[in-house]
């Protein structure tokens, strides 16, 4: 019997107008309602932190003891903290750093993960076990002591090169990215190991394709589906990891109100001022959720086998 795996209409089905690949992907992406809504949500969040400061020009360190721990009102839409500082303004300002850390750390982790995974997956000799030992080594490293060590060793050097905020940013991104690439690497390696034995890869090889061509055109695109999903989870993990670091006093200075920092500060006043934790929490939640949905939508849209 003909070996087909997915139930799908065959070519006898009514023909549809051929479209260019980019347009076709967009058409398929649009069919994923949640992903489309998530793009809108994420766009609002990103635009909010980028240009929100122009719309809501309130200073983030404007202390007003008359308005301590107030709930949302017209004066302070997101309420105030224990020093009477406006939370909306603080979230706009800190959100830039939180989102930037999330995305850049995700990019760093994914790139390292894909490179290591691809190298391990394509090598047939010693490189694969060596890289996997390295991955296991990184997985077994106790992260917090390592962080402390890295920060102790490099904080001053980086500050000297990139300035206070920049130095901390580079360090945090490097630390988060450098300690979270292992799941992606393992995923990519596993995908590569199965894909490189597939007949279509062998077919391309028999036509004279170089290893580079095989990886770029055939193996990597087919391996990307799970990687996209894993990477979208990395963004959320990075935002949360940044807040952990802030919590420990290892991240940005306490006066920079990243979302994680806001949550940390809010924890002592949860009973009287729940809004203080709810708004940054909701922002992190919405970011993570929408990125995950966008990841799902991208995976489906980029896979032509799925009938959409």
């Amino acid at each position: 019997m003909a070996g087909s795996t997915l139930a799908s209409p065959s070519v006898e089905a009514p023909p549809r107008a051929p479209a260019s690949p980019g347009r076709e992907t967009w058409r398929r992406f649009r069919r994923h309602r949640l992903a489309l809504a998530s793009v809108a949500v994420l766009a609002v969040l990103v635009m909010g932190v980028l240009v929100g400061g122009l719309v809501w020009p309130v200073a983030i360190d404007d202390i007003d003891f008359a308005a301590q721990l107030q709930g949302p009102s017209w004066d302070h839409p997101f309420g105030t903290d224990d020093l009477g500082q406006d939370l909306l303004a603080r979230m706009i300002s800190g959100g830039r750093i939180s989102l930037a850390v999330g995305f850049v750390a995700m990019a760093v982790a994914s790139v390292i993960g894909i490179v290591v995974g691809a190298l391990a997956g394509m090598s047939r000799r010693l490189l694969d076990p060596a890289l996997m030992w390295l991955t296991d080594l990184f997985l077994s490293l106790p992260q917090l002591p390592l962080l402390l060590l890295v920060i102790y060793l490099f904080r001053d050097t980086l500050k000297a090169v990139f300035g206070v905020q920049g130095g901390v940013f580079v360090m945090i991104v490097a630390v988060i990215g450098g300690l979270r690439w292992m799941p992606v690497a393992r995923l990519v390696r596993a995908q590569f190991l199965t894909l490189r034995e597939k007949e279509f890869v062998e077919a391309a090889r028999s036509q004279g394709a170089t290893t580079g061509h095989l990886v770029r055109r055939h193996i990597l695109p087919n391996a990307l589906g799970p990687v996209i999903v894993a990477a979208s989870i990395e963004v959320s993990a990075a935002i949360i990891a940044e807040s952990t670091l802030s919590f420990l006093g290892l991240g940005f200075p306490p006066d920079i109100p990243t979302w994680g920092r806001l949550l940390f500060d809010a924890k002592d006043h949860l009973d009287v001022a729940p809004h203080w934790a709810l708004f940054p929490g909701a922002a992190i939640f919405l970011t993570v959720l929408s990125i995950n949905f966008i990841g799902d939508g991208l995976r489906d849209a980029l896979d032509p086998r799925r009938v959409l």
Partner: protein
């Protein structure tokens, strides 16, 4: 006829896809009498498997509706309660499936799995069930059943697993056995054994059998009556002999015309196209002779000498070599331009490895491969990539060999782009031309592989292989996975292309009937060695080596009148090519029977059961 065991009337089934109900079975009716074997035969997608699933109510209820009537033993099954159905399945109706590899639980022993069914359905105690399991394994002729009872499924070969599945099916002494393509995944010699086994068990146990298959040869071999299914309808039903002798419906005629018959080529020296019969009218199209394409005078396109490929089996901490698979052992042959050499043998005999070693997709251990006189083995990676343009490969599974993310046009154009032989625009144009050449419209270039049927996908793979204007095509089981009628079309296409372009084919196949139809010369491989090679007519007409004879005897003949008597095939398995690391391959001697027909001299190990088979 006595009251039928199973009586199916106007069976319909619809599936819900994207919110709409689509009917896939439009009223199928047939009976299965006591002790009778009825074959449901049709091509993939015809609805034969759906019928079987509908009879046992195994289709998912929320996405599938079944109508009509199924009476088993006088009871209506379609309206029976779920509890009743559970008793019917397994107790009085048993089913065996196509994939013996996946139907057994890998973490439980064989004996445990059979005993499980006995305890559940027949209420035996654990010890009684184990004794019964042993008896059943003996019954399905598993050698050394007592020791094998405690082994796990991975220790069993495909044929042996199918025997275990049959033993499980027999556990509850069913009245009806539904066998869904039980031999499709097996080698011919093993298939013949299993068919034999089913036949003799049927006599012993007095079961009825509903046999679902696409293979007309198997039908002729086993069925008393045949029901031909086409597009969800039973188009023709009747005694098997009548269906084969005087098919009434055009579709049946078309199907039978496309069935390759072993022995149909006696007295011909050239390959022969399949006749084309119109499915709706039954009119037979003209069948042009194939021209003589072999250029015997020229230097052969491919000369292979003493090719040897072995795989190390490593184990332990330091990866010590504990054994070697001698996949290809000192294989020599040549293929002339315009010639088809078929490499036949059963799974694991090394024929695919030979094909891949020639293209150096697998690095051979030693030997030489000359392509147009140039040694492929001596090429550096860059030169090899260039040289591969002249030898291309077509794979067994056309779906797996096309990148699912690449449009068909891009896939066909890719070889040109990889080798920088054309600009993007030119390559696109060439791709459309090539698609037209293999009988697909150029507009299909924008579609993706999953949108095509199996036969169309194989045409796309052929178009891709042709893109570089190769001299040699290695076709690895290129038509084995296709339906009979599609198979016939693809074979015809390959023959036409050979005539047009003077292609040489190295055709790797286990399908003896197609090989007989398509090839000029045949090489028979066994355990990595060529045991017999020669012109097709000589090898098929006058087989010398016991293995060749065994292979030919096992091919099912699509002619019920020539149904073989119970031939008592031995229950031996294909032997393993794994050897100890210090194994030295024995020196082989060959004898020339007639010009070009060479056979390996066989030793005492062939004097055993195999030789008896041949004598029988």
């Amino acid at each position: 006829m006595a009251d039928p065991v199973l009586s199916v009337r106007d069976l319909t089934a619809s599936f819900r896809t994207e919110g709409r109900w689509r009917e896939v079975l439009h009223g199928v009716s047939f009976d299965v009498g006591p002790r009778e074997t009825v074959a449901l035969v049709g091509e993939s997608g015809s609805g034969k498997s759906v019928s079987a699933m509908a009879i046992l109510r195994l289709l998912p209820r929320d996405s599938c509706r079944v109508g009509g009537s199924v009476r088993f033993d006088g009871r209506e099954l379609l309206s029976a309660s779920d509890a009743e159905m559970r008793r019917v399945r397994g107790d009085s109706v048993a089913m065996i499936f196509q994939e013996p590899m996946t139907s057994l639980n890998p973490v439980l022993t064989i004996g445990f799995q059979i005993a499980e069914a006995l305890i559940q359905h027949r209420g035996l105690s654990r010890s009684a069930a184990e004794a019964e399991a042993l008896r059943l394994l003996d019954k399905v002729r598993i050698p050394a059943a007592r020791t094998r009872l405690h082994e796990y499924p991975h220790r069993f070969s495909g044929g042996m697993r199918q025997r275990v599945m049959i033993a499980m099916a027999l556990a509850c002494r069913p009245k009806l056995l539904i066998a869904d393509e039980p031999t499709t995944a097996l080698d011919v010699t093993i298939q013949a054994q299993i068919l034999d086994l089913i036949k003799s068990l049927q006599d012993d146990e007095g079961m009825s059998v509903l046999f679902i298959t696409h293979d007309m040869g198997v039908v002729a071999e086993i069925a008393d009556r045949t029901v031909v299914v086409y597009r969800g309808r039973a188009v023709e039903a009747g005694p098997t002999a009548r269906i084969f002798d005087a098919p009434a419906e055009p579709y049946t005629r078309a199907l039978l015309a496309a069935v390759p018959r072993l022995g149909a080529m006696a007295g011909r020296s050239r390959p022969l196209r399949f006749p084309v019969v119109d499915r709706d009218t039954g009119a037979e199209g003209a069948m042009p002779e194939t021209p003589d394409t072999v250029r015997a005078a020229e230097r052969p396109v491919l000369e292979v000498r003493d090719l040897t490929t072995r795989f190390d089996i490593r184990s332990g901490l330091f990866g010590r070599v504990t054994g070697r698979i001698h996949a290809v052992e000192r294989v020599s042959f040549s293929v002339a331009a315009g010639e088809t050499l078929a490499l036949v043998g059963e799974s694991g005999c090394g024929k695919s490895t030979t094909g891949r070693s020639i293209l150096r997709l697998i690095e051979p251990l030693s030997g030489s491969v000359l392509l147009d006189g140039e040694d492929v083995m001596a090429l550096d990676p860059k030169a090899l990539r260039v040289r591969r343009q002249r030898m291309q490969m077509i794979f067994q599974d056309p779906f797996a060999s096309l990148d699912p993310r690449m449009s068909v046009g891009a896939a066909v154009a890719e070889p040109l782009l990889i080798n920088r032989l054309a600009t993007r625009r030119e390559a696109r144009q060439r791709a459309e031309d090539l698609l037209a050449k293999v009988g697909l419209s150029p507009e299909t270039a924008n579609r993706f592989p999953h949108e095509f049927s199996g036969g169309q996908r194989q045409r796309i793979c052929i178009a891709r292989a042709l893109a570089l204007k190769p001299r040699l095509i290695v076709a690895d089981e290129a038509v084995s996975a296709l339906d009979v009628s599609v198979k016939a079309q693809v074979v015809n296409l390959m023959l036409d292309l050979q005539a047009d372009m003077g292609l040489a084919y190295l055709m790797i196949s286990h399908d003896m009937a197609v090989v007989e139809r398509m090839s000029h010369r045949v090489a028979v491989m066994y355990l990595g060695e060529i045991v017999e090679i020669g012109p097709r007519a000589a090898v098929f007409g006058d087989p010398q080596h016991p293995y060749t004879r065994k292979l030919l005897a096992a091919v099912p003949v699509p002619d019920p009148a020539r149904r073989r008597d119970r031939h008592g095939l031995a229950d031996d398995e294909i032997r393993s090519p794994i050897r100890a690391p210090d194994h030295v391959a024995p020196e082989r001697h060959y004898r020339e029977v007639s010009p070009g027909h060479v056979v390996q001299l066989w030793g005492a190990d062939w004097a055993g059961p195999a030789a008896r088979d041949v004598a029988a």
